[in-house]
């Protein structure tokens, strides 16, 4: 297998992470049910997601004590004149703002975050396949809380799921008859 791997694995991996992020693995699973191979792959990724989230939850960021701070050269607080306590407060406030800025976008109930999706990454109103076949949004099935859209051919034989994945890219799984 090349370094680029199997594109289908990547797509299903991203969609599975996205489904778990949105707490809707069952909804996506129901959509994939007609495709046994895809469903099996999806289920494996869903289980790995569970394992990874467990590993992540049980390995929280390590605590930092004063001794380590000193060892790292961060503990010896720069001597601040007592006459200027505002400087201490301002420094602390700046650090807090930076910390918030760094962490806020990644605040996550789960290990994965929905990466800042490029503004132009949206779900299309219609899908045109390589052979020119056009798929339209399926009115029947609509995942409520997922950034996904289901597309179907007018004759109902071809089905596709398009999702904004965890990393902000749009991924489409095609399920052909």
């Amino acid at each position: 297998m090349s370094e680029q791997g199997e594109p289908r694995d990547e797509i299903v991996s991203l969609v599975a992470a996205c489904a778990v992020d949105h707490d809707e693995p069952a909804a996506v699973r129901a959509l994939l049910r007609p495709e046994a191979d895809l469903l099996q792959l999806y289920d494996r990724f869903i289980q790995v997601e569970g394992v990874m989230r467990r590993a992540s939850a049980e390995a929280p960021p390590a605590e930092i004590d004063a001794a380590l701070l000193a060892r790292l050269g961060l503990g010896r607080a720069a001597p601040v004149p007592r006459a200027r306590p505002w400087l201490v407060a301002a420094s602390l406030a700046a650090a807090a703002v930076i910390a918030l800025g760094l962490w806020q976008p990644w605040a996550r109930p789960a290990a994965y975050r929905l990466a800042g999706a490029p503004v132009e990454t949206t779900l299309p109103d219609a899908l045109t396949l390589a052979d020119g076949e056009q798929l339209l949004p399926s009115a029947g099935v609509k995942p409520e809380h997922l950034p996904c859209r289901i597309f179907a051919a007018t004759n109902g034989t071809t089905l596709a799921i398009s999702c904004i994945a965890s990393d902000g890219t749009r991924q489409t799984i095609l399920m052909e008859p």
Partner: protein
Amino acid sequence: MGETLVTAVVTALLPALRRFARKLTGSAGDGDDLLQEACERMLRFGRKSPEAQISRAWCYAVVRNCWIDMHRKRGRERDYRHPLADGSEIEQLYATPRTELQSSDIWRHIDRLPPLHRDPILLCCIEGLSTEEAASVLDIPAGTVRSRLARAKLALADAIGIEVSHV
């Protein structure tokens, strides 16, 4: 101001960077040594380039690059490309039913992955970096991160014994 900014960013990220360093090296002691080396490098950069803007990915990249450099200095570059864990203790894991897997077992499975696959797992799944950030840390295209991530997850599924059967 520059040093203050770098110091503030590094300090804010310190708990996560310490976890990353410890997981990267496989031990608390080595991890803290690595973190110290990386902090020295980051703070030195802050003093040299006070106007530079630094990102979260940059901090992780410094830690990882320090780790690779530490191997090089010791003439053990080859080691970095090898899994942290291997050998008989891993073989025992195959006999452990998945339902009884402890967190430490999961981590031993992760440690068994070659760094090629383990690093994206640590960065994206544990540290919560986006694929673009991980790509920046690892200095590879985002598509390659996605590919390695998918393959690493499937390798973990195999190692842990995740099987799905549909009736």
